[in-house]
């Protein structure tokens, strides 16, 4: 399942699961991620301090004063990973308001894709998404795959400030900006839901790698009345 293991510097193991981006490869990455997380929790392995699953890679950081690359590599090679039978397919529902004041890029998208806004919304909301990875900024989920009919490149000039809560698409992916940040994705709406909550110490990140996400449309009134 892992195609190649190498070192990324002197404190990380780089597990390469392939070059394509698809749910099958990503599910492998996430199985390893869950399995190793559990071994760390149960103290069956020493010195691992971080795991970063992404589309088709898993990076394992370790403390070089406790262990080293060779030991962690051998440990990973010795693992037998079974499909996570425990249902990880918890479905998370995310409300989105797509009024033009929140969906900042409909004009661009309708021109580029040559379809109208209603069709974009129909294709976008008509699908359940899968969380490939979470990151870049705290809690930002990278979800996919969106319908082929609404795939579009990033903006030529990225925005300096993307509003917090923006729901955006690019290529085969969709994401949610959990903080105001620079960004170049096409914005189709905004969610009032807290997707990352610093004050929730036990579980700050709503959407984690492997989760399923369903977006649904709300009106501006419902958006403004949203209370959590």
């Amino acid at each position: 399942m892992i195609k190649n293991i190498s070192n990324l510097g002197d404190t990380a193991v780089y597990c390469d699961f392939g070059s394509e981006v698809n749910e099958k490869i990503n599910a492998n990455v996430i199985d390893y991620f869950h399995h190793i997380s559990k071994l760390i929790k149960d103290k069956k392995i020493e010195g691992i301090i971080n795991l970063t699953p992404s589309y088709n890679k898993l990076i394992i950081n370790f403390d070089l004063s406790i262990t080293n690359y060779k030991k962690i590599k051998n440990f990973i090679e010795g693992l037998t990973i079974s499909r996570d039978i425990k249902d990880n397919n918890q479905k998370i529902r995310i409300p989105v308001c797509c009024d033009d004041e929140y969906g900042l890029d409909f004009l661009r998208l309708t021109k580029k894709l040559n379809i109208d806004k209603d069709k974009i919304l129909e294709l976008y909301f008509g699908k359940e998404y899968f969380c490939y990875m979470t990151g870049f900024i705290a809690g930002m989920p990278f979800l996919g795959d969106i319908n082929k009919g609404i795939r579009c490149d990033r903006l030529e000039t990225p925005r300096v400030k993307v509003p917090k809560g923006s729901v955006a698409i690019t290529e085969q992916f969709t994401n949610i900006y959990t903080f105001e940040s620079p960004g170049g994705w096409n914005i189709i709406g905004n969610t009032p839901k807290k997707v990352f909550d610093q004050l929730n110490l036990l579980d700050p990140t709503l959407i984690k790698p492997g989760n399923k996400v369903i977006f649904y449309q709300i009106s501006k009134e419902e958006y403004l009345d949203w209370n959590e």
């Binding site: 002197d10 301090i49 950081n61 070089l64 990151g135 610093q198 700050p204």
Partner: protein
């Protein structure tokens, strides 16, 4: 809760709380943070008799001016820092780094500036009265994670001090001086072969200078443009401290403690662990050279680095 605190009279440009950093959160997009210069962070705690993982005040370039209220403490400053202690009776003492001082009620410490490095550290005996967030005191101002609502300190804020009963510890000194060195040692990155042979040679043989775009997230360098002959983007994947990414413009960026957890630019190299403190301390305009080392060499250098750190830490035992 103790009622001693520092009143912030001048906040400085980037004054935060840091410690060893925050682990096991990359998968949520929460980065490690922690002191940029881990050795100076540990030395500062050692000088005031703290556990080495106690929270300290990190500052960059211009540091804060702090007045002690309702207490008596030991403190120390590490790094390459110009500072003064202003006593209640207006006497002024010029500060010396790597030495512990006693600060009394209404005394002030003026952390005027760092000199040839970017970051300095102020430790206080007993540590600071703060709550850990996800097992760390580190403040990440980009994600607003950590104490003080994840924000840098501003004028009029108070920094509370944990230890109210002062124990006089012997004023000690550590005979530590940073040896200036412009060689940064690097292990080849996972995308090293994305770069032309000329770019690979330039990377290890030409000089690079640190630009003004340098903060706790990372530092951008300028030098010979590193030509990518495969693809200037990769599918986004995890990053680590010290990773050197090269975007399409050919200028390398070194990731530091507050780096984004994933990135989509090819990685030409990774700075070895033993050189992370030094690379983080570089100031704009500094000239550096990268030198290739093998994984095995990097591991040996790291052992020497920790032995060396331990030697300084144990100097007064």
């Amino acid at each position: 809760m103790s009622n001693s605190y520092f009143e912030i009279i001048r906040s400085g440009v980037n004054t935060t709380i840091q410690d060893r950093g925050r682990n096991h959160m990359y998968y949520m997009g929460i980065t490690v943070s922690g002191a940029i210069d881990q050795r100076n962070y540990k030395l500062s705690n050692k000088l005031v008799g703290n556990n080495l993982d106690e929270a300290v005040i990190e500052f960059a370039y211009q540091g804060p001016l702090l007045k002690l209220k309702n207490g008596k403490i030991n403190l120390s400053v590490t790094g390459d820092v110009l500072f003064k202690i202003i006593r209640k009776n207006s006497n002024i003492e010029n500060g010396v780094c790597y030495k512990s001082y006693i600060l009394e009620d209404e005394d002030q410490i003026d952390l005027i500036s760092t000199k040839n490095t970017a970051y300095g550290y102020l430790s206080i005996s007993g540590g600071l009265e703060l709550n850990k967030i996800w097992n760390s005191y580190s403040i990440n101002t980009k994600a607003n994670v950590g104490p003080n609502n994840g924000k840098k300190y501003s004028i009029k804020d108070k920094i509370f001090i944990k230890n109210s009963d002062f124990k006089k510890i012997e004023e000690i000194e550590i005979n530590y001086r940073e040896v200036p060195d412009n060689i940064i040692r690097v292990i080849k990155g996972t995308n090293f072969d994305y770069f032309s042979v000329e770019a690979q040679n330039n990377f290890f043989n030409k000089e690079f200078s640190v630009t003004k775009l340098a903060d706790r997230m990372g530092i951008r360098l300028s030098g010979p443009k590193l030509e990518n002959i495969v693809n200037t983007n990769i599918k986004s994947e995890g990053l680590v401290r010290g990773a050197i990414q090269v975007p399409a413009d050919g200028n390398p960026i070194v990731m530091l403690s507050d780096h984004g957890t994933i990135g989509g630019y090819p990685k030409i190299g990774v700075v070895i662990s033993a050189d992370l403190d030094r690379v983080g301390q570089l100031t704009p305009g500094s000239i550096i050279n990268f030198k290739e080392v093998s994984l095995e060499e990097a591991e040996n250098i790291f052992k020497a680095y920790t032995d060396d750190t331990d030697k300084y830490l144990n100097e007064n035992n």
